[in-house]
């Protein structure tokens, strides 16, 4: 493994310029590094230059205009420990708490998790359920992309040469829950995970699943079955059955396709129960 050179820009402009000038095939961007350095160690990538974001002013949590904006390099643990985030975005904190371990979350970041775009990411499904928006900076200026479009496939996102994720916006607090199943609670990847949220203004549900191919996915037709408020038992049963049928599960070393189909129905039913018990969903 050839050693890489670490570049530490001290401003956003400098970081964008450094990335624009660099050969993308030989350059990696370092946020928390908990995933990137593993890829280096396991020779999945062999960068000559690693651009560190640690001096950029993005370790922020902002509530301007009632919208939660999370700076891309804020450590996940800081997000998780914020009482206001826990109160207003419960599923976000549940999902952050499912990532790695406490020690890992002291360094791992939301921006890093998004850009790495793992098929079993705990954070992507929850961001989908909140209709989160990704704010980018780049050589051609700023732009914003809904998470659903930003995440394209495993390790593939809508990021042009020289672009960086500056922040992730969660436009409104929602009654929500995030439930997962895995072999080891910490430092493991979910076999299946379900993010559920109720959008109070639209009066509609969001259901997102992880553990599916090729990336965490919103299940719009399942959400429709839950109606415009508290679903009755028959609606919950229909939605759970549909989630089981529609999710694109595969068999891998973590779980079989059949097990995952059963699991998603159970997790969705439990998530609905949890959101309804917490209150905030109209009849």
């Amino acid at each position: 493994m050839a050693p890489f050179e670490l570049v530490v820009p001290s401003s956003v402009e400098e970081a964008v310029a450094a990335l624009r000038a660099a050969d993308p095939a030989e350059t990696a961007v370092l946020a928390g590094g908990t995933d990137l350095l593993l890829d280096v160690d396991e020779h999945r990538i062999d960068p000559r230059r690693v651009v560190s974001l640690r001096r950029l002013p993005w370790r922020t949590l902002d509530w301007t205009g009632g919208v939660l904006t999370v700076g891309s390099t804020l450590p996940l643990r800081s997000l998780e420990m914020d009482p206001e985030v826990a109160r207003r975005y419960p599923a976000l904190v549940q999902a952050v708490g499912a990532v790695g371990s406490v020690a890992l979350r002291h360094r791992a970041t939301l921006g890093g998790n998004l850009v790495r775009s793992a098929p079993a990411s705990d954070l992507v499904p929850v961001l989908l359920a909140y209709d989160a928006v990704v704010d980018l900076v780049g050589p051609r200026g700023d732009r914003s992309v809904p998470v659903d479009r930003f995440i394209q496939a495993s390790r593939k996102v809508d990021l042009e040469r020289g672009e960086l994720v500056r922040s992730i916006r969660l436009p409104e607090p929602r009654p929500s829950a995030y439930l997962w199943q895995r072999v080891r609670p910490a430092n493991d990847i979910s076999q299946v995970a379900v993010a559920l949220a109720f959008a109070p203004h639209e009066r509609s549900w969001r259901v997102a699943v992880a553990g599916v191919a090729p990336r965490p996915t919103l299940l719009a037709d399942v959400a429709e079955h839950l109606g415009r408020g508290r679903p009755d038992e028959a609606a919950v049963a229909r939605a759970a059955r549909l989630a089981s049928e529609r999710s694109k599960f595969q068999t891998d070393r973590r779980a079989s396709e059949e097990y995952r189909r059963r699991l998603v129905a159970t997790l969705l039913r439990r998530a609905i129960g949890s959101v309804l018990r917490a209150g905030g969903v109209p009849p």
Binding site: V102, A103, L104, H106, R107, N187
Partner: protein
């Protein structure tokens, strides 16, 4: 190749090195350049927690941390025992509970708990302490005694 000097505080001592490659992990700097062998390499993939140290009081996996990324920060390792009150307290609880078998994972467990005491305060709940240990593995499966050390930590107070 000339390298910039990297400055760290390690167990309250100022450290300056000009021989740290850009891609070197904090784990390797501690063990091989500073001869602090208490921090252990287990999996080197962030799964086992044996390499846990504190960076500005917060637990971190030194195998997945570049030394140069923690430039200017304060590192605490298991060797801080006598000078760091929290590390000393956790070490005493492990000794009193006999919470080790082969001992390889012990520094990681101790540092994860010391980090939890820093983050959650000396009166951290049992759930908070256990959450901090979620990323630590003991291959001897000596968890029973480790849990007794956690309980001792709580009963004995600060």
């Amino acid at each position: 190749m000339t390298r910039a000097i990297v400055r760290l505080t390690v167990n309250e001592h100022a450290v300056e090195r000009s021989d740290v490659p850009d891609d070197e992990r904090l784990l390797d700097t501690l063990r091989w350049r500073l001869a602090l062998k208490g921090t252990k390499e287990g999996c080197r993939t962030g799964d086992c927690g044996a390499c846990t140290v504190l960076v500005d009081g917060q637990s971190a996996l030194s195998c997945l941390t570049l030394t140069r990324e923690v430039e200017g920060r304060s590192i605490t390792t298991i060797e801080a025992g006598p000078t760091d009150a929290r590390v000393a307290r956790v070490r005493a609880a492990f000794e009193a509970a006999g919470a080790l078998q082969c001992g390889y994972c012990t520094p990681g467990f101790v540092m994860s708990l010391a980090g939890a005491l820093t983050e959650q305060g000396a009166s951290a709940s049992r759930a908070e302490l256990l959450e901090a240990l979620g990323g630590n593995l003991c291959r001897c499966t000596g968890y029973g005694a480790i849990l007794r050390a956690v309980d001792r930590l709580r009963v004995e107070g600060p």
